[in-house]
């Protein structure tokens, strides 16, 4: 029996959250965590009822909301809730070809940062503690290999590493600088838990590798030419708009978390994008 990889993801994100709260003192308020988690589930529940979906599934909403708790910083509980609502709501409302277009957490973070002064992402707060990096990478790898979409994470990390080291070499910087830029907990959380979302990435392997190349190039441009922090977050949102085109020109088998009942095909308008074809997990 294969366990749903989302349980691993929930467990690891939960552990990271606890580590962040207790050891790194990430200044996440427990009540903020609570508001985000509750709003996400309520939104998921509300849309499940509204769209008359057969089953309320809290897992994906829980993953999105845990990622939000880890990355979003705000002093306002209202904004924290709004972020959770935007994240989950976007899954149901912004759709193309039976897939949601944006990664929910990423979309909510970008919308909140752009629209509100009092919401931000503290990418530097994860520091570059090597131990943590290894921990995050190894734990993340389990998730990736289980969800069989490790190609996009590896491709992204590969392209981004080439870009960072290439820039460093062009500038004549010592290797310690690109290494420092890569040993960033937030970047690894992004690579292993955000860009790896199998539902919002292209269906074919070639498409995913192309997608990873686009995300890393756009991220590099935003980070080093526009001098905006959080380049990777903006890059993913922008690149997600390309996914329908990539899927059109490079078609592939759609991802599904679960195998539907053969005699009872699930409706299309699902948050989790169930597929009528063979399940891959």
């Amino acid at each position: 029996m294969v366990i749903d990889p989302r349980y691993y993801q929930i467990g690891i994100l939960g552990l990271l959250l606890i580590y962040g709260l207790l050891v790194l003192d990430l200044e996440i308020q427990p009540e903020q965590v609570l508001w985000i988690l509750i709003t996400a589930q309520l939104t998921q529940f509300g849309f499940t009822r509204w769209l008359q979906l057969p089953k309320f599934d809290p897992r994906s909403a829980l993953i999105s909301s845990l990622s939000l708790c880890l990355l979003l910083r705000t002093d306002s509980l209202l904004l924290a809730s709004l972020a959770a609502f935007v994240a989950i709501g976007s899954k149901f409302l912004i759709r193309w070809n039976n897939k949601h277009v944006f990664n929910p957490t990423n979309f909510a973070l970008v919308i909140l940062i752009l629209c509100f002064d009092s919401a931000w992402v503290s990418s530097g707060q994860w520091g570059r503690d090597l131990l943590l990096v290894l921990l995050v990478a190894c734990l993340g790898m389990i998730v990736i290999s289980r969800s069989r979409r490790s190609d996009i994470t590896l491709a992204f990390l590969g392209f981004y590493t080439v870009l960072i080291f290439g820039r460093g070499m062009w500038l004549g910087d010592p290797l310690t600088i690109p290494l420092h830029q890569l040993q960033n907990g937030a970047l690894l959380i992004f690579a292993f838990f955000m860009i790896s979302d199998p539902v919002t990435t292209p269906n074919s392997r070639t498409g995913r590798i192309l997608f990873a190349a686009v995300v890393s190039s756009v991220a590099g441009f935003i980070q080093f030419s526009l001098y905006e922090p959080n380049g990777v977050l903006y890059a993913l949102t922008v690149s997600c708009l390309l996914t329908p085109f990539i899927d059109h020109f490079l078609p592939g088998e759609k991802f599904a978390w679960e195998k539907p009942n053969a005699g009872n095909p699930l409706p299309d308008r699902q948050g989790e994008c169930y597929e009528k074809t063979r399940a891959t997990v």
């Binding site: 009092s118 500038l171 004549g172 420092h180 001098y227």
Partner: protein
Amino acid sequence: MKKHALLFSLITLLFLSQGSHSFCGFYVAKADSKLFNQSSRVVMTRDGDRTVLTMSNDFKGDVRDFAVVIPVPTFLEREQIHITNNALLDHLDSYSAPRLVEYFDEDPCMLRIMKRGMVATAPMEDTEIQRQAEALGVTIEASYTVGEYDILILSAKQSNGLITWLKQNGYRIPEGAEPVVNSYLKQDMRFFVAKVNLEEQAKLGFSNLRPIQVAFESPKFMLPIRLGMINAEGPQELFIYTLTRKGRVETTNYRTVKIPTGMELPEFIKNNFGNFYQDMFNTQVEKENRRAVFLEYAWDMNWCDPCAADPLSDQELKELGVFWIPDPMLPNDPPTTRKIMPQPKEVFITRLHVRYDQQHFPEDLFFQETGDRQNFQARYVIRHPWKGETNCPAAEEYQEKILPRRQQEEIKTLATLTGWDIHSIRKKIPGIKPVEEVPWWKKLWDD
């Protein structure tokens, strides 16, 4: 009815001010940047892409040896450079410094009654310099004398040409600077170089070197620290004060950590606050593996509590480049609409303190402004015991149990924060009573 409302609001105001005063304690001492040797101070005033940098360091040698080479992101016109005074930075430093406050214990007998009641270089000709520069691929984009400084804005095709030129013109450039200079040149940075013009200095009559200010517009919210680390003997100390509109500033490529605050410390710290803060800072730096930037103060510039120094005036803020507040010299309101209450200035100060070296801070410091407007200060507390006469059972409990227990806790806190030996701390506190540990079972039965 209206009268009552007014009376009520006045009383509330009175209570609020009294409450907040006693809440934050009485200010005793501060630990300013002068405690740390070889420190530099930089004020970064920024809103959007507009930035004003004010730079000062505690240079103590012969002014003829003084020279600064600073990478800047844009070309600078003469009017974009300004020289200000040290007093301004000293004021900002005092205002935001870590502080010690004290409380006095009240008569334990009175306390009990209350509790019952309420539950509650050699000069060269300009043309010659220019010609020499051109031969080396260096462009002198501008040359100004501002205050006591001779300032040049340089750009170059190659770092070796620039370095040769700087060396030829009396700037001491350490070995190993070339790749760093090259990296900045490739990132489209110019170089701001300044030396002291002795004639001008004599004319102006300043003995100390004054801080240099530059104003520019750039999306780069960063401080170049790499040049200063080449061949540096040991780590360097940097204090960064940011003045922004929205909220607290933090580093995006290093961890920004809040310095421990709010601890109760033994009384003798009153005369050793500087030593305490230095040693506590050292301990915290080590605890974060020398890779963190420390937050010492984050506050709305309108007020402070307790105040280590008064908030900066509009005039001072303007001098530091806060361009978004109305000009203090111009009357901004007609007399009929004179405001009684002081208006919020929308200036938020963040004080960051970093000890850096090449090994632990390979990259320049990059920043972002967050929306966090929560006030934070490095504040430490001493509580003076009640020394008056007492004659009640509560006093006995206070003298025998409450006070010794508290003092032991204070000693432990101090030892943990500073790494000082706990026995040496105890020796500094004469007459401290040992806490009598009562076994848990002694309280179990009455017999």
